[in-house]
Symmetry: D4
Subunit: 256 residues, 8 copies
C-alpha cells in the first residue's frame, strides 16, 4: 500500500504537470525495484510494528554486529542469531537494553515492543544436547510475535515422556521437532499428530551421525508423510516456517 | 474420540459386570496399541470418508500392487505413487475404475468419493522437466481432499512468467515449489510471498546437480527464511505437508 | 589342541627316527598355515555335517556358478546368494535337486541334509519392499541349521502391527530387523526387546535415502543402545551373525 | 506384570465404584504409554538392581552433567560417557565417590553396587591409539554387570601377538574388535573364531582413513561373514550389544 | 527501449486523461515485471536477429520437444541440447530443416539465419572420448553467432600435439578446454596462454574419476590462476561463457 | 615477442660470431624452458613493469613468507594471499612499505608501481560475511593493474539493492559475484547482465551449505547460462580470470 | 642428447647461412616442444620394437576403435583395454589377427612381435569376481614384454591357499594384488613379502563396498607399509607400474 | 631360510635329546607365528642391523611415545612419524641422542647405525607447502638405509624448474612426487621419466582441493600410466614403497 500511495502521488504529479513524462519514466523505472525489494525483504525486515530486523551474526566481526545493532536501535525489535560470546559481550556493552541468550546464542533488542498473535507454536527436543537449537527457535518465534512453548528431552529413548505430553502438543498450531543422531523423533511425532511438523536435524552425535546429515536425511525420508525439514541446527528457519503457518491460520480466520 | 467411545463402552461393561476384570485387562492391553496404530496411520489410511489409502509402489511387484488394490477396493479412495508402467497396466486390467496418471506415475481408485475441503494449494514448477513431481503432488492433494492448481514452467530463467502469476499464487493457503538444478525458485518464491512454502528439489540436471542434492541443499540453505524442504522428487510428501497446513487452517476456522 | 596333537605326533616321529629332519621341516612349514587355514574357513566351509558351502554369485558368470555347484554337489548343503535369474536357470538345468528362491535370489542344494539346532531366529521387515533381503536372511539361517520365522510389514507406519507381534518376537534368541528409508524400525525394536538385535539397512527409498546409507547411518547412530548393523541389503551377513549368537547360546548350554 | 497389577487395581477401582468412568478413561489413556515407555527405556534405565543409568555427556554443559549425577546419586550405578576433562572435574568435585577414567572418558558412580553375571566379554584392539574406545567398552560392560578383559595392540602388523592370545579370546562369549585405519583386524578375528564378533571402527588414521569411515565400511563389507558393526568410536554401543548377547546366553541357561 | 516506449505511451495516456490514475497504477504494477523478464531471458531467448532459442531436451518427452520445435519454427534459430536419439528422430520427422548432430546430441533449426560476429573461439579436447562435449560447445558457439574451431585429442599424454597447435590456439579470443580423468589439460593450457580459459570437466574415466568430479575439482584447484570452470559435460554452458567474453570484446571495440 | 626478440638477438650473436655454437646450445637449452616457464608463470610472476609476484601464504611459515618478500623486494609489485595475522606481522616488521589488508588477508608491496589498464572489473557480494573474499579479489585486480569497484551486501534477501546498482554494474567489463549459502546471486546477476560473470562460492553458511559446496554446485548448475565458477573462497582466482578477460578486451582494442 | 644434436645442426645451418634467422626462430620455437613431446609419450607410444600402442576403448565408438586399429596395424603390438563386446566384434571383423580376451575385455594385435624381458610379475586375486581385472593386468604385462603369472582366488577367507603359494609369489619381482570388498588381501600380502606390492581395488561388492572405494581407501590406509595403489579396476595401470619396476631392475642389472 | 635354519636347529635338538617333546611343542607353537610375525613386521621392526623400529606417534600420548623410545633405545635405529611438538620435547628430554625434524615431524634415534644400500631415491615437491611431507619421506628413506635427495618447488607453475632438474631426477631408481591441489605434477613427472613413480597427494589447498582428495583422485586417474599412489600426506608410506623397489633392484643385482 506504501507502493500504492507512491504510485498515486507520482501519477498525480504527472497528471497535474508537476512532473514531465521523461522524469516520470526515470522515477518509475526505479520504483518497482524498490517495491519488489520491499516484498522480498518483507519477511526479514518488515516495516510494520513489532516485527524484528534479523542479523545473522556468524562470519561477522563483533564490530560489524555492534554497528548493525547501533544503527537499528530504536527502529523496532531486533534479533541476532549465531552470536559468539565475544560478539555478545561487545553488543551488550554498546547497546543498553540488548539481551543475550547464551544457550540459544541469540541477542535481542526491543522485546517489549513485540505484539503477540493468536495461536501457539510447540518446540520439542529429543535430548538435552538439542536445547541450543530449540532455544534459537523459541526466541525467534517470540521476536516474530508468536507464543511458543518447549517440551524438552522427550527422545525415543524415553517415549513415555513424549506420550505424557501429547495433550500439550495438540494445543500447538504447528510443531517444531528438534533431534540429532538418527532423528527418529520427527517420524514418531509426525505419526502421532495431524498438525504441520517442521523437523530440525541437529549436529548432535558423532561418526555415522555425520554432523547432522544422518538426522537430516532420515527426516527427509521419514515414513510419516508430510514432515518437512530445515537445515541442520537451523532453529531460526524452523521458527520462521512455523510463524508463516500460524500467520496463515490467523489470516484465514481474519477473512472469515 | 473413537478411542474415547471404545474406552467408555469397555469400562461400562466392566462396571455393569458384563466383562470381568481379567478379560478387561486383555482387551485394554491391545486397545492402546490399536489406538496408537490408528493415530499413527491416520495420515495414510484414515477411516474417515474420502481419505485415501496410500500405496508406495516402488519396489513392489505388479502382483503385489494388484493384490493391494483388489483388497482395498470398495474401502474408499486409494492412491498409489511411483507406479511403473507395467504395474499400472496390471492394475488397470484387474481393477476397473482405477485411473493412471502416467506423467505423475500415480494410480487412483474411488476419486469420486473424495470430499473437498476449503482452501487451495498452489503447485509451482521451474521447468517442463519438473512436471512429473508436480503431477504427483497435485494428485495427492486432490485424493486427500484439497483443491490444488498448477503454475508451470516459471523458473528464474523466465522470472516475469512467475511475477505475472503472483495474483494466482497469493490465492493459495500453502505453496509447493518444485525445482531442480540449483533450485533457486524456492528462494525467489519464498521471498515474494508470506504463505508457508514447501520446496521439493527434483533430480532434474546432471553433474554438479548431484541427482537433486544440490537443489536439496540449496533449498535447505535458502536465504528466504521459513522455506521448508522434503525429499528429492517427493511430490507426495510435499502435498501431505501442504494438506496438514490447510487442515490446520480449516480446523482453526472451525473452532471460531 | 588338534594342532597340539599333530605337533606331538610329528615330533614323536622325528624323535624316533620315523621322519628325518628335512621331511619334518617340510611338514612343519605347512602345518600352521593349514591349521590356520582350517580355522579361517571354518565359518564358510566347515567339515561338520549339515553346514553349507556358500557361493557369492554376484560378479560370477552363470558358467562359473554351475561349475561350483557341480563340484560341490554331494559334499553337503550348498547355498548361493545374489543369484541372477539367468544363473539360476543355468544351475537348475545342470543340477537336479537345486532349488531357487527368486524373491531372496538364493539357490540351495541339499536342504534335506540340514540338521536344525535349538532356538529360533526372528526376521522382521518394515515393508513389503524389504522382503527380498528378509528372504535371503531366512534361507541363510535355515541352511546354517537354525530355525527362523518372519514377521513382515510391521514398519513404524503401522506400529500396532509390530506391537501385536511382540509375543512372537520375544520367542527368538536373536532378532534381525530389515528396514530401508530412515530405518527407524531398528531403534523401535531395539527399545522394545532385550535380545541381541542385528539391523539390516535396505536400499529401499530414493533421494535422501541414499541407496540405503541413510538407514545404515541411522541404525549405526540408533539411540537404542546395543543394536549392531551389517551391510546394506546384507541379509546373508545378518543371518550369519544371528547364527553365531544362537550357536553361542547352544554352546554355553552344552557346557552346563 | 507391573502393568498387569496396575490394570487390575484400576479396573477393580472402577468395578467397586471408587473411580468413575471418565476418570478411568483419563488414567487409562496414559497408562499404556507409561508401560511402553518402561519397556522402551528398559535398556537404559532399568529399575532392576545393579543396572546403570547412562548419561551421554557430549554436548551437555558441565553444569548439566553435574545436575544429572546429583539427581541420580543413590539411585544405583551411573555411567557417563564422552566426558570432557572440564566436566569430569566438575562432577568429581560435586559428587564424592564418582570415578573418572580419563583414557576412556567415562565417569562412574556406584560401581560397588554392580552384580556380575556369568560369562566374559573380550575386547581386542589393533593398536595403542585404539585404547580410549576399548576403555569405554570395558567400563560399560562392567557397569552393566559383565566381566570383561582386554587384549591390546594385536593389530595385523603383529599378527603373531593375536595368534598367541587365541586361547584367551576363545574364553569369551562375545568379542569386541576395536580397530582404525583399514580395520582389517575385524575380518581376521571374525575368521579365526566362531563367537559373535562386534566390530568397532575407530577414527584412528588420516586422509583416506576418512575419520573412521574406511574402517567402518571395511568392517561392513568384511569377507568374514557374521561380523556386525557399531558406530565409529562407539565402545559404549559395542559393549551394550555384547551384554545383550551374554544376557541371552544366561537367560537361555536359566530356562534349562 | 521497448520499455521506454511503453512507459512513454502509458504516461502520455495518463497525462491526456485517456487513463485514470487507478488504471495506470494497475498497469504499472505489471510493467516492470515484463521488463525485468525481458532482461532476464535476454541471454536465452533474445529478440535480436540470429540469436537462438535454446531447449534443454533432457527430461522432456519426444512429444514435448517436437511441440517446442514446431512452436518456435520460423521464429529464428533454435538449438536443442542433450537430445536423445528417439527425440531427434521425432523432431526430424516433424520439422523439415532441423539438423541433428548425433555426436554432440544437438538439434538445430534455422542455422542459415545465424549472423557471425568478429573473433573466434577455440575448443580443445584431451581425448577422443571428450568429443561429444566439444561438439555441443562448437554447435552452441555457432548458433549464438560466434566462429569456433576444434583442436582435438591433445591431452597431456601427447603434449607435443598441443604445443604444435599453439599458433592456432593463440588466434582465439577465448579457449574452452574439455578434459576428463584428472583434467590436467586445463592447467597446462591455462599456463601456456594469456586468454580467458573456460574449463569443462567431462565424465570420461572410471573409479576415482568420480564421474567427472575429480576433473571438476582438479580444474577448480588448478595452479594456473584464472581458469574458470563450468558443470561436468556442460559444453553448452562453456560456449555461453565464451560467447559472453567475445561479445564483450566486440562491444568494447564498437565503443571505441 | 619478448621471446622473439631474445631469439633474434641470440641467433644474431651466433651469426656474427659473438657467440660460438656450444655456448649458443647452452643458452638455447635453457631458453625454451625459461620461455615456457615465463609463459607458464607469466600470470604469476611476469617481468613486465607493474605486474605482481604472487605468494600463496597458506601452509608457509611466517619465516618462509618473510624470506620470499625480502627476496622479491625491489623487483616490482608483490602480492601475498591467505596471510595469517602472525605472518602479516612478521612481514610488516621485516619489510617496510608492505601493506596488510586484514579483511582480505593480503599483503602487498610496491602498489605504487602498478600501472592501470583500461576498463573496470565489478565485484559483487551477497552479504557482509562474503567481504573477505571480495577484498581478496579487489586487491588482486588492482595489483594486476585493473581498476575494480565493490558493490556489497546485495544478496537476494535485498534484491532491490542489487537492482538499484545495475547502472554501476553495467559499467564493468567483467563481473565477479561472491556469495555463500545457496549462491543464488550468481544466477540472478547472470540473468540480468550480458557481460562475463565469474562466480565465487564462499564457505559462508552451515550444515547443508557444506562449507561452500552447495553454493559451488548451485553456481555450476545455474540456470543462467554462461556463468563460470572458481574454487570456494577463491577471490584471487576470480580476479585472475576477470583480468584475463579485460586484458583480452584491451588486446583486441589494441589490434584495431 | 638427440636434442643436443638437433640444436647443433640447426645452429650450424644458421651460422653458415643455410637457414636465415626468422626460419631459425620458427624451428627453434617448435623444437623443445617436439623433444618434450617425444619424452612425454615415450611411455605410451615408444618407438622401440615390441612396445605396444595402447587404446582406451571406453567412450569410443566401435567405429573409432576400428579406425585406430586399422591405422596402427603393422606398426607393432597394439593393446586396447575396456573393449565392449560390440567393439570387439567390429575390430575382429575388420582386423584379421586381432585377438579378444572377453574376460579381461582386451583386444590385442601383433602379440607375436613382443620380446620378453627378464623377470616375472605376479598377479594375485582375492576371488573369482576379481578375475576380469587380473586378466587386464596379465595381458598388459605381456604386451609390454614382461612375463606374468596368476595366483587366483586366495582371498583371506581361504588364507591357507595364499600361504601355500608363497614360494611361487616370492619368485616375482613385483606383485599386483587385486581385491574388492574391504581389500584386506593387500595388507596381508604386503605384510608377508618384501617385494614391491601394487594394489588394485576392484568394484566387487555392494552397499558399503562403495563400488570399490572402500577397498581403495582400505588399501591406501593399509597397516602394511609400502603398499601402493592404483585406480579401482585399473589392472592396466597396475601392470604399467609393475613393468616400470621390472624395467628398472633390468636397467640396473644392465649397468653393472 | 632363517626359518629353515631355526627349524633345523630345533629339530636337531629334539632328535639328539637336547630338547624334550613338550618343550619342542612349546617352541614350535611360537615359531611359525614368530616367523610369520617376523615376516609381517620385517618392514617395520627387522632385526637386521641398521633397520629402524617405526612408531606412529599420532594418537599416542607423549608419555606413551617416551616409553616406546626408552624401551627401544639401544636396539638399533628408531623412527617416529607424526610427532607433535609436545611429544618431541618430551622424547628429547628423556632420550639423549634423539633428533627432531620439526618440518617433517619425525623423531629419530641411532641414525649413525644406519648402513646405506646402493642406489638413490628422488623426492620431488610441487611447492613449499609440500615440504613437510617430503621431509617425512626423506627421513624415512634414510632411516631404512637408502640415500635420498630432494628436488623442491618444481610445481607446474614453474615447469622449467622441473625440466632443468631432469638429469638429477634420472639418477634416481624410484621417484616420489609430492603435490597438493590438483596434483598434476605426478602426471607430468610420470610422463617424463621411465622409472617407477610413487605419488603422494598432500592436503595443501582448500575448498575443492578437498583436503587432499582431489590430488589423490587426480593421481589415481593420471593419464600417465604406471603412476601409483599412497595415502594423503603419507610421506612415510611412499618412502617404504620406494625402499621396496630399490631393495628389489639390489636383490636382483646380488643374484647375478
Amino acid at each position: 500500500m506504501d507502493m500504492h500511495a507512491s504510485l498515486r502521488e507520482l501519477l498525480g504529479a504527472v497528471q497535474n504537470g508537476e512532473l514531465d513524462i521523461e522524469a516520470g519514466i526515470a522515477r518509475l523505472r526505479d520504483l518497482p525495484y524498490l517495491e519488489m525489494g520491499h516484498t522480498k525483504i518483507d519477511l526479514h525486515r518488515p516495516l510494520r510494528n513489532g516485527f524484528p530486523e534479523v542479523v545473522y551474526a556468524a562470519g561477522k566481526t563483533p564490530g560489524q554486529v555492534v554497528d548493525i545493532f547501533s544503527h537499528l536501535r530504536g527502529r523496532g525489535p531486533v534479533l541476532a542469531t549465531r552470536v559468539a560470546e565475544e560478539t555478545a559481550a561487545a553488543v551488550l556493552a554498546a547497546c543498553p537494553g540488548a539481551r543475550h541468550n547464551p544457550l540459544g546464542r541469540t541477542l535481542t533488542l526491543g522485546e517489549d515492543d513485540v505484539v503477540y498473535a493468536e495461536g501457539e507454536i510447540g518446540v520439542i527436543t529429543a535430548g538435552t544436547s538439542d536445547l541450543p537449537v530449540a532455544e534459537e527457535a523459541l526466541t525467534t518465534c517470540r521476536m516474530f510475535g508468536h507464543r511458543a512453548f518447549l517440551v524438552a528431552d522427550v527422545g525415543v529413548a524415553g517415549l513415555h515422556r513424549l506420550l505424557d505430553r501429547m495433550a500439550v502438543l495438540r494445543r500447538a498450531r504447528a510443531l517444531i521437532v528438534v533431534a540429532g543422531m538418527e532423528g527418529a523423533l520427527a517420524s514418531v511425532v509426525g505419526g502421532l499428530v495431524s498438525q504441520p511438523v517442521v523437523a530440525v536435524p541437529t549436529s548432535v552425535g558423532y561418526g555415522a551421525a555425520l554432523a547432522g546429515f544422518t538426522a537430516l536425511c532420515g527426516m527427509l525420508t521419514s515414513c510419516a508423510s508430510g514432515v518437512t525439514v530445515v537445515n541442520i541446527d537451523n532453529g531460526f528457519g524452523a521458527a520462521c516456517a512455523a510463524c508463516r503457518i500460524n500467520n496463515q491460520v490467523n489470516a484465514a480466520a481474519a477473512k472469515e
